[in-house]
């Protein structure tokens, strides 16, 4: 069984908010001028991550199925004179790099997942297998535009980050456990986000052969 304690969790569901409104809402969470090259995903997932004060001894595990959809769209739109800024920004795992480079904080390890059906499980497994004393599991999606019309982007914008430790901290917020088990079931990234956002308890299959138990204290 793999297990960690949840020290803290930060979530942000943009819901039906217009991207410009999301950016305006989050702008003040970053240093002046820092957001001019940030994407909506970078701001929403980055603000959540920054809220947990990442440091040099931490590991960051990042999960985003479609990642920088809007930067990707804009980069593709910029041909035949491609934009170097948009190229750079469109490359996974840009969202976390946007905020961490802004903070100039190195980290022990950074494991970015893109995704598939089981991205929530796979990112969580990576987090629970990391040897780092503290792991910051973070992620999110940003709503796409023309890529969404082709089924190649998320239809939702959200961001989250959770600080996970091996030892139970004072004031622990919860606990997360993964264990091999016979059975099937899947939990998507958006559903994992909803569990954290709602502080909802969960006991069931997150992936075939793997059970997730999530409890809040």
């Amino acid at each position: 069984m793999l297990e960690r304690w949840i020290q803290a969790a930060v979530t942000d569901d943009a819901g039906g908010e217009d991207p410009a409104a999301t950016r305006a809402r989050l702008k003040g969470r970053f240093p002046a001028g820092a957001t001019r090259r940030m994407t909506t995903l970078g701001m929403i997932a980055g603000a959540a991550l920054a809220g947990l004060d990442p440091g040099e001894g931490d590991a960051i595990v990042y999960a985003s199925g479609y990642a920088e959809s809007c930067a990707l769209e804009a980069f593709l739109d910029s041909f035949p004179t491609p934009s170097p800024t948009l190229f750079q920004t469109s490359i996974h795992p840009s969202a976390v790099q946007q905020v961490m480079i802004g903070r100039q904080t190195p980290v022990r390890e950074f494991l970015p997942h893109s995704g598939g059906r089981l991205i929530a499980f796979q990112a969580l497994r990576a987090a629970l297998l990391s040897p780092a004393p503290r792991v910051l599991l973070c992620g999110g999606e940003e709503r796409g535009t023309w890529l969404l019309a082709h089924g190649l982007a998320s239809d939702r914008t959200f961001g989250f980050a959770a600080s996970l430790s091996r030892e139970r901290p004072a004031g622990a917020a919860g606990r997360v456990r993964l264990a091999p088990a016979d059975g099937a079931g899947e939990l998507g990234l958006a559903s994992l986000f909803d569990l954290f956002h709602g502080r909802s308890v969960f006991g069931g299959f997150i992936a075939p052969g793997w059970r997730l138990d999530l409890e809040w204290l």
């Binding site: 002046a32 001028g33 001019r36 004179t81 170097p84 800024t85 750079q88």
Partner: protein, 91 residues
């Protein structure tokens, strides 16, 4: 009388790089663009290159050449006057 090329370059810098709170006229002619008061970096410089090539018909081949041409607004204007299409310079 402000140099129209220098004025256009400053406007281009603000627009291209989305420097929301910067007035073009406030950008000094001789201050380093990268690593100076505007907090621009090498990616910003390369982004400018794309727009400069399109507008003025110049060609910058390497990142090292970009660094030299974009040392300051003044050096950039000199570079464009030397290498750009004269027909595309602002009157």
């Amino acid at each position: 009388m402000p140099d129209p090329l220098v004025a256009r370059l400053k406007q281009l810098i603000v627009e291209t790089l989305r420097l929301e709170d910067v007035e073009p006229a406030s950008i000094p002619d001789d201050e380093p663009l990268v690593g100076g008061g505007l907090s621009l970096d090498s990616i910003d410089a390369l982004e400018l290159v794309v727009h400069l090539e399109r507008e003025f018909g110049i060609k910058i081949e390497t990142s090292e050449e970009a660094r030299g041409a974009l040392a300051s607004v003044a050096s950039l204007a000199a570079f464009i006057r030397k290498r750009g299409d004269p027909a595309r310079l602002p009157a």
